[in-house]
Symmetry: D2
């Protein structure tokens, strides 16, 4: 396990592994090896140097993460101690080759490209959980196309909707947000190679060819130019993760509210309590909402760091690695917990219907007004309905009884229409067409 206790609710084991020391070192070494290959291929460094570098990179003991972490504050970067250690190892293999380690590159090139390589792996993990989420939501929506339930606005009961429409709304927002996030991953995951000043001057006229070759070698698109102090692509990814986590948070909030014992319309698998044997806690909702609480601040940090000085920032850039690591892990933790939560969601249609009935019909007051006002005038209709609402608080089914007892209401509505006023299934408007559109709106 690389997942630490302190982050146990804000990451997952696969994501924690991606940002572990060994993974970070491997990503940085992958950059150095690919750079050497690209430069050797273009004749900028000797083939023997590339061979020695490759051998050193393949050597598990070439660099010691603990030493890097210790030295990083001296130079303000983890790249410099890594390069120094790699160079020492290369020198031990082939002294002449040591000169060509990190040839023409700068610390930010290796750090940024390593970050990108890690993000490519994050994308794969999140993609898989995202697919589970949208599949499960689509299934839930289709299964419950006709399951009526209370809509709730400002946490108060409103006229009915269907659980199918509710799930379709979740689906559409998460699908859109996931699509945007994946596009942002693709745009952001491009390598960095600019050398000391972003001109690749140390590589002479071949700089852009090296950069193209490096990208090809790493299996990434060539951005065409370095982007040291221009972080809008990563910022857009960070922001898209924020929107995505928010969309998941909305589902978790709804589920946790539906799971209240007084509501009991749905339940996630849940988890136990250390003190209360009877409890089934919405543990996955808690994790998703925790991530949705944590991520916005991380997004603002990233954005606040954007105005980076000249060709390499002082402060803004150095804040990124730790921040973006926290952020994508929280996003991925939310995605994994959401997938588990949604796939195993229990839905209780009977309780949904019972909760409509428990309102005594008053959630159909709008319906009554819509039917009565054109006939009786709005004032008269309102008076009748207000009286009926008051009656509903005094006796069961009082809303309908009071309306039925009002002669003007009886005059305005046929008995069947009157009886139908509190029938949920016939007051769903275009819930179903909306639902189908939302499912199609991937």
């Amino acid at each position: 396990m690389t997942l630490r206790l302190v982050d146990a609710l804000m990451s997952t084991e696969p994501l924690a592994e991606i940002f572990s020391d060994s993974s970070v070192v491997a990503a940085m070494l992958a950059f150095e090896a690919a750079l050497a290959r690209a430069e050797a291929r273009l004749g900028l460094i000797p083939a023997s140097a590339e061979t020695a570098i490759a051998a050193a990179v393949a050597d598990a003991e070439a660099v010691d993460a603990a030493v890097i972490a210790q030295r990083a504050p001296l130079s303000g970067t983890v790249a410099l101690p890594l390069v120094d250690m790699l160079r020492d190892r290369v020198r031990a293999i082939d002294p002449a080759a040591a000169t060509f380690v990190h040839w023409g590159a700068t610390s930010q090139d290796v750090t940024d490209t390593a970050l990108v390589l890690l993000l490519v792996r994050v994308r794969a993990v999140v993609t898989s959980d995202h697919a589970r989420i949208v599949d499960a939501l689509r299934r839930l929506s289709n299964e419950h196309a006709g399951t009526v339930m209370l809509a709730r606005t400002l946490l108060q009961p409103a006229p009915p909707t269907t659980f199918g429409l509710k799930a379709a709304g979740w689906f559409a927002a998460v699908s859109r947000s996931g699509t945007r996030m994946m596009a942002a991953f693709d745009e952001a995951c491009v390598p960095q190679l600019g050398g000391a000043s972003g001109t690749l001057a140390a590589l002479g006229a071949d700089g852009s060819r090296v950069a193209a070759e490096l990208a090809r070698d790493l299996g990434l698109p060539d951005p065409g130019a370095p982007w040291h102090a221009h972080r809008d692509r990563l910022a857009s990814l960070v922001a898209a993760c924020g929107v995505y986590t928010g969309a998941l948070g909305k589902i978790a909030r709804d589920v946790s509210l539906l799971m209240q014992s007084e509501v009991a319309e749905a339940a996630e698998p849940g988890g136990p309590s250390s003190s209360m044997p009877h409890k089934r806690n919405p543990a996955r909702c808690a994790m998703v909402l925790a991530a949705a609480t944590r991520v916005p601040g991380l997004v603002s940090t990233y954005l606040a760091g954007l105005p980076q000085e000249h060709e390499r920032g002082l402060g803004g850039w150095q804040a990124e690695f730790s921040n973006i690591s926290s952020l994508v892990q929280a996003t991925g933790a939310a995605s994994a917990a959401s997938a588990d939560m949604i796939e195993r969601l229990d839905v209780h249609p009977d309780r949904m219907r019972a909760n409509i009935e428990a309102t005594g019909g008053i959630v159909f007051a709008e319906r009554a007004l819509t039917r009565l006002a054109p006939v009786l005038g709005r004032e008269r209709a309102s008076r009748a309905i207000t009286a009926a609402i008051a009656a509903a608080e005094r006796e069961s089914n009082g809303f309908m009884k009071a309306l039925a007892a009002d002669p003007e209401v009886r005059g305005a509505l046929a008995p069947a229409d009157l009886a139908n006023l509190t029938d949920a299934d016939s007051y769903l408007g275009v819930a179903e067409p909306f639902r189908r559109r939302l499912l199609g709106d991937k």
Copy 2:
């Protein structure tokens, strides 16, 4: 002037006007009028009702913003008092029509659609300033394709770059960010119509046709379904504004640093000081950086509000109107100030060259190393260069003199190559190809 003093650096007059009371009221009334037209056209309300509603909407005194503001806290929305006042006005015109005001709609429908209508106007304002920015940056980059200057990393001098490349980097980041922001405006600017529960139940089977007709009438795309508690589209817009403002902030930071009297490589038009007659303050940079400081927190607020409860949020939604208004105004203020700042930027190529020379050649240490290390070995080359850097601190042009005095260096480099070591114009790598690519990367 509608721009208030307290917001004078965080908005502009055109943007403040968009969020003024009269403009907000007009947008809400535009929704109510368009809704009535759509419903009358589809036969859901009498034509006479539509006529009366149109007349009331056209009546400048139909609603009183001060009364709305006063009553808004009672219901937690500005929509309800507006609808009440409009209904009263309609009743005065045609009592029977009063019933059909706001027919089938809910408070959030009018509030959200009004917000969207205001954002459409914001988009137009920002688009215009954005066009000025990218035009001016492209021009600056082309004019200064060959203007050499110090690159600076972590605020320390690095090997030279060109101002053309610097401006092209600004251009590319702002162009990309602007393109994303405009796309986000387009995606987010869709009307809201869902009625009490998001099913448009009060409109029977015609709900989605009314929604489509409403969208057409307002000149907006039909989103296909309401989006009351699903705010990912607006969140993406908000986030895109954050990235865009950050990209502008990076330019402002760079310009303000270049404008320091000790650097003096560029200057924005500037403004006066209340106490110091000699000063030319980077007032526009200050405004842009202020916006770049303010916007990230507003983005985080928006994201934190995303997990909205069920069919209408409690708290998260109500936080949005004020927040998004602040945010787009700050974005637009940054855009306007950036356009002024960049269009009128003074660039001082002579000073740029002088600042390279003032480093005594030491910024070419990497170049020297790159040339010497393959011949002398890295250790020997490093020693020679370290000695030369130390010499540069003692005497003018000491770097080159010290290298030239080192017999091994003289043996490794031809005299012309040696003399060329501190020539900035020949150590620009692929700055020019990178520059051209960045300008093409709109």
Copy 3:
């Protein structure tokens, strides 16, 4: 009304008035007048100049806020155009006096001191609402010292607590947070006078005496030295507002959850809906939660702006005025809405008890375990309780029946103890001592 529609849920009329143009102008002029008085008293400017400045300041048309707002972006401050206009007015009264307007001061002196003067007024408004809140909470707690209700953890039912303890917890957190906030107001509300560079050089050796006199004149403590780029006192105030608003948000969240129709244990006065005649919306809770959503991002903006450059910041400072105005207004709006909400809170003890009973006794599972485990051993006790919890889902009062049917349970507990297991009133632990301590913990 100065409260704008766009801020109608994020401010109140008294607070909006404090940040209105006329109020901001008055505060800035109050600084200039006080400065002139202090300087005349110390003989640094002629008495006649002070007289002319006082006359100009008293002249309602001395400055035009619209012109200031228009010119502010040119200099990056509202102070400079205000001073220019004031000087013109003084010149019209006494040409020789114009020289001594703003004598020795800088833009930031007037802007920061004006902000402080406005904050002093905000403090008074918020103090009044805070007093209402703590009084009402203390009263609620005392009234409901014995009102049992479900505790709820992770939104699931837990063993009972009392509403008195719940209200006391709210009281203690809000009291502590209010005390800290008021102390932070007091620490932050000190005038600013440093002149161009923070040395008051233009006032010669008398600078600190002028500053002391200015403070005395304005009725504020003398900070001893200017604090232009050192904003920790205001930052602490801003942060304390954030904590306070969060403490209010916690109450609003709880009340809105208690007010759900399925729970119905408490209700705020509420407000109407535009589409649903039956609804009583938790409008005040919505406002408080909206503020609690909005304020954290504003706090982060303030903190992000703290690293201000040298003797006057570029960007960080200019972001403050608008930001802090939004923040204290949101805080005050939350305070006002909370006072209304809590003073008029309806509490339903019967429903609280009914909701305990509706759990079928399973919230006493911990109690049963605590009694049975020492006798039967934990494993055996757990099995009995798990079976009883399962029974509770099948039949009413199943939990107790199943326990009573278990011979080992009957052997372990006397009949009276067994019968008492699901009695809420005898399972409140030290709720009452805790409650009293919390009320004493002001």
Copy 4:
């Protein structure tokens, strides 16, 4: 090393160790052991149970952090799996004792108290670095009481100040912020013990005595009542860390600006570059500014999570552990880097004086105006000074020459006064009294 690469610039080894798995486990076990001791002392659990629990806690293999991390998502807390494992271990030692593990407590009790125990250790680490910072700043200020330098406002030169005053301003802000932060640590570091519902019902009438005894045993003050969902004390600590880090960030920003090669007035020890042999990077400033960039977003997250539901929050609470761990580590990293940076700061008084002179005297324009305006009138004086400023751009020392060439100026000022106009040492106002006050303002 427990410091991970991904956090290498956002923590330090001692702080990373505090939040390592073994440290977190030890803190949670310390709670369980102290609870058992308190309960045994009060006769609530058998002495033999306490003995077994103590033995299990002392057993290094009692719990496996990896297993806890793996299981934590199932229950949404690390406490539950820890308690389960501890109970298993106790059972192996003394089966009857297993019942009394975690007796009467809940997951949040152990998690929150463990967090507090870790924060106590953080406080000690930060206190030590803070003492180094204020000592070094006081020394710097005293050494440079008479070192004149340019003040700079909006990054433009202003009349002179002293480095002593600048350092005293840093000192005062950091001292105040440190004092507040330490007080916030003290207020926040109180144990949590409330049991399932915050009433300690499982402990009968002895709950508050157990809580008091637990506090005494852990060496912490007794808060008097549990604070599960009331997090204002921790929020105030978090916010105080934000203000403190901002105050450090201001120093780092100033130093990094002074260290620019074109300014060269001060330099931190600095670090090397991976590509540029000549560079001395402000690595410690970068770390401090990175922390000052990262922390505000973490503060906003904490504040946004404050409105926690009922007796235990769902999402807000679960977001805290990871967040507060990141936040105090970033604060401590800033503190450690600041101490190193300030203790070893090189100050260059000669360069400071040279930079004043390089402005050609124009930074004394305010001084000239202050002297001339009372004699010549403001308009005439302004014209003379504007001409002199223009002259300063054309020739060296042009400002003074132009003034001296103006007959009215010569008539207004005695030759000695005129000559003195650009003498920095005599235009420092009350810099020294302000400096001494700031140093006394601890």
